[in-house]
């Protein structure tokens, strides 16, 4: 569904992605792990057309992701994104945040957009926060609204960029719970995360990105339990046994 072929991306003369190949099939959950600064966010942002890339090809359903093309807006409605820092619209309530895309981008009727948004907020456990502004919500609640906002577009895939890293520890669980439920419903997901337990439990496969290259990939169990690459071993040791 999402395919990356030899993707290169530089900021000025700093090459961040040095030829990335990957494929995410429909219904798959893929976790992308790797040290900070290895280019994980950049990779996600390229898939969503928030960054340009210099060479290689990223495609969604066979269609090339090209920031300069007018088709980019359509591709973005099909691949949603959940950000590390939630990025909810602070001047709109929870339900308005969720309705924003369906109502104004997909031009759905007010009543049906609202009804659907309500159902989504119920689904992420926020039925009593429909009219709350983001500033009145906890981090975990905000991130669940953000997931509902992504789902409201009825996307074919969702990209998650460290969705729990900005959360207090006691709120990580509620967000992972929602993501686990999505995985069980076979939502296509590409998840950047340091939650190794979540990856082990939920992911179909794992990609390990280091220095702008995918240095190891395979089924979650294999990569996370018996990593072959020395850098992967090293990284996993550090995230699972923090000093």
């Amino acid at each position: 569904m999402i395919k990356l072929e030899d993707v290169h991306k530089s900021f000025g003369d700093h090459e961040v992605l040095k030829g990335v190949d990957a494929e995410i099939d429909k219904g798959q959950v893929v976790c992308l792990i790797g040290p900070s600064g290895s280019g994980k966010s950049t990779l996600l942002r390229c898939i969503n057309g928030l960054e340009t890339y210099q060479s290689g090809q990223i495609s969604v359903d066979g269609e090339r992701v090209d920031v300069a093309s007018p088709r980019i807006h359509d591709i973005r409605t099909r691949v949603s994104m959940v950000f590390q820092r939630f990025n909810l619209f602070p001047h709109r309530t929870a339900i308005e945040n969720v309705m924003e895309g369906p109502r104004y981008v997909l031009k759905q009727e007010q009543a049906s957009a609202r009804q659907k948004a309500e159902q989504l907020l119920v689904r992420v456990g926020l039925e009593d926060k429909l009219d709350a502004y983001p500033s009145a919500l906890s981090g975990g609640q905000q991130q669940r609204v953000a997931i509902a906002r992504a789902l409201a577009m009825e996307p074919e895939a969702i990209l998650f960029d460290e969705p729990t890293s900005a959360l207090d520890p006691e709120m990580v669980g509620e967000v992972l719970q929602v993501m686990r439920a999505l995985a069980e419903e076979h939502m296509t997901m590409l998840v950047v995360t340091h939650e190794i337990l979540f990856a082990r439990e939920v992911a179909d496969s794992v990609l390990f990105l280091d220095g702008g290259r995918i240095v190891e990939e395979g089924p979650a169990g294999e990569v996370l339990r018996q990593p072959k690459n020395e850098r992967t071993q090293d990284f996993l040791r550090r995230v699972t046994h923090p000093v």
Binding site: S80, Y104, V105
Partner: protein, 218 residues
């Protein structure tokens, strides 16, 4: 003091005519300056290099020239290019042009102060730039911009006195004419100052109320 009150009774009706013109000049040029300022700000943040640069050069030019010179230029020079404006029109255009550059800069700063994550969130749900600006960026920039905008509004009101140099009979001009015919400088200019204060103090007060209301709404 009784002298002052007696003459004030005579002068006030004349000065009030000037007050109305001051208000008219201020409101018209404020409206035009706001509209133009928004356009300059959108140009400068458009990401289109040449457009941003051209706007920036224009803004720097206008900001670097005294209002008086801008007014003279529009009133006395533009007719040679076929643009013949009345003194009132030239005054409004000159003030609007000058203030559009100040206001535009505060709008630009407001737009740039909106978190980049907001732009990304808007794009990631498929919004195109105009809708993103209208529904996501500008409403948030608006809050940031209110205090400097209010400040510009009061400055504009005071600077509207400058159009007296091209003989628009607003408050300052009426005062000058009255003073030179009565030689009663003290009474006339005290009244003029008080009348300006009657306009600026309520304006300042109202804007502070708006700021407080917006601050608590967030």
């Amino acid at each position: 003091m009784t002298d002052f009150i007696a003459s004030a009774g005579v002068y006030l009706p004349i000065l009030l005519k000037g007050v109305w013109l001051t208000i008219a000049v201020t409101l018209l040029s404020l409206g035009l300056a706001t509209l133009l300022g928004l356009i300059w700000a959108l140009f400068r943040t458009s990401g289109i290099r040449w457009l941003a640069l051209a706007t920036r050069i224009f803004v720097e030019f206008v900001r670097g020239v005294p209002i008086l010179v801008v007014l003279f230029y529009i009133y006395f020079v533009m007719p040679e290019f076929g643009l013949d404006l009345t003194a009132f029109q030239a005054g409004v255009v000159g003030l609007a042009l000058t203030y559009s550059c100040y206001i535009g800069e505060t709008f630009r700063a407001g737009i740039e102060a909106v978190d980049k994550g907001q732009v990304e969130a808007a794009k990631s749900i498929g919004m195109k730039t105009p809708m993103m600006m209208r529904r996501v960026v500008l409403p948030q920039a608006f809050r940031i911009v209110v205090p400097p905008y209010a400040n510009n509004m009061v400055m504009l009101l005071k600077d509207s006195s400058q159009v007296s140099v091209i003989s628009v009979a607003e408050l300052t001009m009426q005062g000058k004419m009255l003073a030179s015919s009565t030689f009663d400088n003290m009474t006339v200019f005290t009244l003029v100052a008080l009348l300006y204060l009657c306009l600026t103090i309520p304006l300042n007060f109202a804007m502070r109320r708006v700021e407080v209301a917006m601050g608590s709404a967030k």
